[in-house]
């Protein structure tokens, strides 16, 4: 069997995805394929590629990191900023960002956290 490109795999998975849900059958299929072709190490890249393909079709996965968690008004403004048909939120709470918000969507990042500002001040001082 010829090696399938990540892009091909991602397109297949994206085609089967409906309303942000991937059928369990497809997951099992993909897992079996990756294991069988010794490509499990590519897993993070495959996931990224699937997200990329979905984003092209207007379904954006947004990984949002905050220190305290999100409320609906913030979600609303993030949604407006991203400007896509559908936005799925993957929330993470990480006190080490101190404050602010970091939004990661496929291929793009908005980093408005306090820790980044502090780091940039620190590196500007160092240079």
């Amino acid at each position: 069997m010829p090696k399938l490109s990540r892009r091909k795999i991602a397109e297949y998975v994206a085609n089967t995805t409906k309303d942000g849900v991937v059928p369990t059958g497809v997951i099992a299929e993909l897992a079996a394929y990756l294991a069988d072709s010794h490509r499990t190490r590519e897993l993070p890249l495959v996931v990224r590629t699937i997200e990329d393909v979905l984003a092209e079709r207007g379904q954006v996965v947004a990984r949002v990191t905050t220190a305290r968690g999100l409320d609906d008004s913030i979600k609303q403004s993030i949604r407006a900023q991203i400007n896509a048909k559908e936005v799925y939120f993957a929330e993470a709470v990480d006190p080490s960002v101190i404050g602010g918000v970091r939004v990661e969507t496929p291929g793009k990042t908005l980093d408005a956290t306090i820790i980044r500002k502090l780091n940039s001040i620190r590196s500007a001082k160092a240079s």
């Binding site: 590629t49 990329d52 900023q81 291929g107 793009k108 990042t109 500002k117 940039s120 001040i121 590196s123």
Partner: protein, 511 residues
């Protein structure tokens, strides 16, 4: 940043923070998936352009890279700094610019790296302008044919293989045959003759000790004020070695485009090709002949095509290139030598045999050629050197033939004797370039047979005696001759003058 008074501390701090903060932008990012051997593979950043600069956010601060392989879902980027700090998972941002370097007069007298950062411990370099590292060459209408001479000060080159401003003349030969010496003498001559030509010396993977020695020498000779040295050492990443000639060219193009004349020396392009081969193999491009990638020809042709003589509309500036190529055991049919020979407008071939026979500079009269310089040779030198190359080649042939028999006719014997004297005359110690009148007077004296009575071993002494006497007693005439527009022919005044003095000098050396 200006000092802030205590009373305005809060305002000052606020401003400082505002300056620091680049703003929270929703921008394209990628992630490093693999890294090693100076190459990083980046996932994402699908809008990156070819040769665009990327910024990798590492724990120890940003590291720059430039994108060379744009593939379906991955970018191969070559790091411009250390790869030890970059780890998989680091975020990558686009800088939105292609690579450029500072250019301008401010660089004169400095030693810099290919990114324009000082290496000489001097002040930071601040220039008004920046020049693109990769830039396309001037078109047909922007050029003019090469017509002004670029004097190297080396008699055998200026007489037999003259170089014109805007020409690309290759210096090729084995290791230790004096290739760099020719380039350095040419740079020194630009200062001695006050030609106003700016020198740019690009050291590609040269030992730092050698570069330090060279810079020291240039300072001693007073050439450094009109010289820029772009230095890379063998311990620099291959990406910097690859960039060095392009960066040096960008710096010299500033002078070319402002109506001035510049001379650039690439020392040497063999190492450049090797650095590019390393990068290409690490980027997994398919190897071809001698494991070089498919585009090594383009690598050097696009570089050397930027050397040009500009048209009057563009200010009539020029950029002359002296690329250097090192051969293995005199093999000029290897891949890189044949490529560069076909790109350049001629080559000066250095031979190991000649070097060890004591004929230095060890320039081979048979294999060297200058394809466009003839039009640029000064009238003065041209008038005396017309038959020099032919005579010398014939002499070499005769000499090897004459080894077998001793009974030669008078004419052949004479030709051999003349040839021996010419060969002796063309020997020239390092760091002593000669001016136009010195070259013409010496060649004229030997060609006319005025030194035929002087023993071969004493030709150099007779030459210096002649030059000393001419300089002392006939300064004005020689200065006139040095302008290069006067021919030295049978009945011209200068010829009569040299004839007279040479005869007198020769008497003192006869046996």
């Amino acid at each position: 940043m200006a000092d802030v008074s205590v009373t305005e501390l809060s305002k000052g701090l606020r401003e400082a923070i505002a300056q620091l903060d680049t703003g929270d932008k929703y921008e394209s990012t990628g992630v490093v998936t693999r890294v090693g051997d100076g190459v990083a593979w980046v996932h994402g950043l699908r809008d990156a352009g070819y040769a665009e600069v990327l910024e990798i956010q590492t724990k120890a601060g940003p590291v720059e890279a430039f994108a060379l392989n744009l593939m379906e879902d991955e970018i191969g980027a070559v790091l411009l700094g250390e790869d030890s700090q970059v780890v998989a998972g680091d975020a990558v941002k686009l800088k939105g610019v292609v690579l450029d370097v500072p250019v301008g007069e401010e660089l004169l007298g400095r030693v810099v790296d290919p990114l324009g950062r000082p290496l000489d411990g001097g002040a930071p370099i601040v220039t008004k302008q920046r020049g693109l590292v990769e830039r396309s060459a001037v078109g047909v209408m922007g050029r003019k044919s090469v017509h002004e001479p670029l004097m190297t000060g080396i008699v055998s080159i200026d007489a037999m293989f003259p170089i014109g401003r805007g020409q690309r003349e290759l210096i090729i030969g084995d290791r230790q045959t004096g290739k760099t010496a020719i380039a350095v003498d040419t740079m020194i001559n630009q200062a001695r003759q006050k030609t106003g030509v700016v020198n740019v010396y690009v050291a590609i993977g040269q030992k730092l000790s050698k570069i330090a020695r060279l810079v020291e020498r240039l300072k001693q000779e007073g050439v450094m004020d009109q010289t820029i040295v772009v230095a890379t050492s063998p311990s620099d990443p291959a990406s910097l070695l690859y960039l060095a000639p392009y960066a040096g060219t960008a710096m010299s193009e500033y002078f070319r485009d402002n109506g001035k004349h510049a001379l650039i020396i690439y020392d040497d392009l063999t190492k450049h090709a090797v650095a590019y081969r390393q990068m290409s193999l690490l980027l997994r491009r398919p190897p071809g002949r001698e494991a070089f990638p498919g585009d090594v020809f383009y690598l050097h042709s696009r570089l050397l095509e930027r050397s040009a003589k500009l048209s009057d509309d563009l200010g009539a500036g020029s950029l002359t290139a002296l690329p250097i190529i090192e051969t293995q055991a005199g093999d000029i049919s290897a891949y890189i030598p044949t490529n560069v020979i076909s790109i350049t407008d001629g080559q000066i071939f250095m031979e190991t045999d000649l070097f060890y026979q004591g004929i230095r500079p060890a320039i081979s009269a048979g294999l060297s050629v200058s394809r466009v310089g003839g039009a640029a040779q000064t009238k003065t030198v041209k008038s005396v050197s017309g038959s020099l190359k032919l005579g010398l080649s014939q002499f070499r042939e005769l000499a090897s033939f004459a080894q077998f028999g001793s009974d030669l006719d008078e004419a052949t014997k004479k030709q051999i004797e003349r040839g021996q004297r010419l060969t002796e005359l063309l020997k020239q110690p390092q760091y002593s370039p000669l001016s136009i009148w010195e070259q013409s007077a010496s060649i004229f004296a030997v060609n006319e047979g005025l030194f035929d009575a002087v023993p071969t071993a004493k030709i150099k002494e007779a030459q210096s005696a002649l030059l000393a006497r001419l300089a002392k007693d006939y300064r004005k005439e020689m200065d006139e001759l040095n302008k290069g527009s006067q021919k030295v022919e049978k009945d011209s005044d200068s010829a009569k003058l040299i004839h007279k003095v040479a005869e007198a000098v020769a008497k003192g050396f006869e046996e």
